[in-house]
């Protein structure tokens, strides 16, 4: 469905601002609590937070993150899931979100209805309350920006910093071909996996793969080292080349760093007991780097043996 109406019917400007906000509340249904916990007061009022909190924001933009070929419900779900993946990457639990909408006057009401229903379904599935937002007119645009507030699951939060020379690198799931396969719309954010990893003391650092493994790895790479990868081990989506797995992005998998002294076999066995349907693959390690470059390289032969724990 094209988000803009070609004629005078089904246009959002017929609703007016108040009418649109009331409609959004109805479309969100139980995903939006009553004010002041949800839409309708100056701020949304949320419960206190015992643990450290997590805050992230990401948009979806017509013409950039989606086009007329994408179902509006899938756009709404993706808006939330992009942000959920950031909470997953810290080992956190999502709590509440607000949505800022910028839209053309001719935006279809039916598009917005399906968008919000898709957002609400994803929000209910992951226990997120949509508690407020803002609506503004911007000619020619359709932009929804979601800010997500989460909380650490316990005392521990996994950040990007923390890797040391010798540490192992692992990734969940399979990489590459996200756009072509529709994975960028259908993916499940790795929330349970992220929390499980944050409770394992041998995990030192974590992030999600959104720009592509090769690019994202640099954020985990400690100074004076480079990532040495076993290129044959990198888990690829069916039909994907190595280049696609390294560079496509929008994988929304977790990339984590494991203490050099960890028992990889024990970690792998524990993972398999908990997440039998999702691979956790050891793909390389950080090695001391004598040169100035820190781009990933192929792992020297001596590093391979530890990468494939026996089943």
């Amino acid at each position: 469905m094209h988000p803009f109406a070609p004629g005078p019917r089904d246009r959002v400007d017929a609703l007016g601002e108040r009418g649109l906000i009331a409609s959004i509340g109805r479309w969100l249904g139980t995903a939006c609590p009553a004010a002041p916990a949800g839409i309708g007061d100056d701020c949304a009022v949320l419960p206190p937070a015992r643990h450290r909190q997590l805050l992230t924001v990401d948009p979806v933009i017509f013409g950039r993150h989606f086009d007329a070929a994408v179902q509006p419900a899938a756009v709404g779900a993706k808006l939330l899931k992009r942000n959920l993946s950031d909470i997953a990457a810290m080992g956190g639990r999502p709590r509440a979100a607000v949505v800022s909408l910028c839209l053309d006057r001719a935006t279809r009401v039916s598009w917005l209805r399906e968008f919000h229903r898709g957002l609400a379904t994803a929000a209910r599935r992951h226990g997120v309350a949509i508690v407020g937002g803002d609506v503004a007119e911007v000619p020619g645009a359709l932009i929804a920006s979601l800010t997500l507030l989460g909380e650490a699951d316990g005392e521990r939060v996994l950040i990007r910093q923390g890797a040391r020379s010798g540490d192992w690198i692992a990734v969940t799931g399979r990489l590459g071909g996200s756009l072509a396969s529709g994975h960028h719309l259908r993916f499940t954010p790795r929330l349970a996996e992220g929390r499980w990893l944050a409770r394992r003391g041998e995990i030192r650092a974590m992030m999600d793969v959104s720009d592509g493994l090769a690019k994202d790895l640099s954020a985990l790479t400690p100074r004076g080292t480079r990532a040495a990868l076993d290129l044959t081990a990198i888990p690829r989506r069916r039909g994907c080349t190595l280049a696609a797995a390294l560079g496509d992005g929008e994988d929304y998998e977790l990339l984590c760093v494991i203490d050099a002294r960890a028992n990889l076999r024990a970690l792998q066995n524990a993972w398999r007991r908990r997440f039998s349907n999702l691979p956790l693959t050891f793909i390389g390690r950080f090695l001391r780097n004598r040169g100035g470059q820190n781009a990933p390289v192929a792992l020297p032969a001596s590093g391979y043996e530890h990468l494939r724990p026996a089943p």
Copy 2:
């Protein structure tokens, strides 16, 4: 300064996404803590919150909330202050914000630098940390949407609901002419005043005046009543008509509801001791409404005497 560069110089696309994000961190300076408390990880990590929390979002949009005549630093300050006023309206304390930017490739770097410096100055003044955000390209647009997280100052949060028939209505400061006078850029969000009011047991409900007194009052008006206003008491900005004070909006003053049984004189005296430079004016009360309409009316003569406590 026009935010878009007319020629090839001073354009944001020359920085690239990474360069722009690094520049934003520098422009924000001490208003942006180091990662993971600030920009640079999957989420910003914030401390736990003992009291209930407040979440709100509002944008500034080129062509709608500002134009080329407005100094970019004032745009940045206004973006934060609009949201601070919503925290003030609940009696809360602001903590941290994230900013979502959508901009044309030709946006001037110098405009963005001054915008972020203005935002940072306002953030430091009000104790807000700018902890993260997102940057995306949208042709022809310049939109900044800020999500602000705050916390209640104690056990109490003032919401819009709570007024009863007979309760008094009061407003801080003066109303009207916000755009013409520049108040919409220069205003000070009523944070200290909002917290003070939230600690007074006789205040039952509160909101900020952003759409204009006449329109905003309806959100406080309980079912079966209407607001009866002493039109001569409404505090107007110098040179403003009554219509301007009732309808202009962007006043960012606090509008509160006081228990019918309260001692207005004692409240007024306590207010003056604490806030000697800002008037708190009693402007009317909620009265039972026999008709179906709930638009404000002029207060009947019997209601006036209590409205002007002796000094």
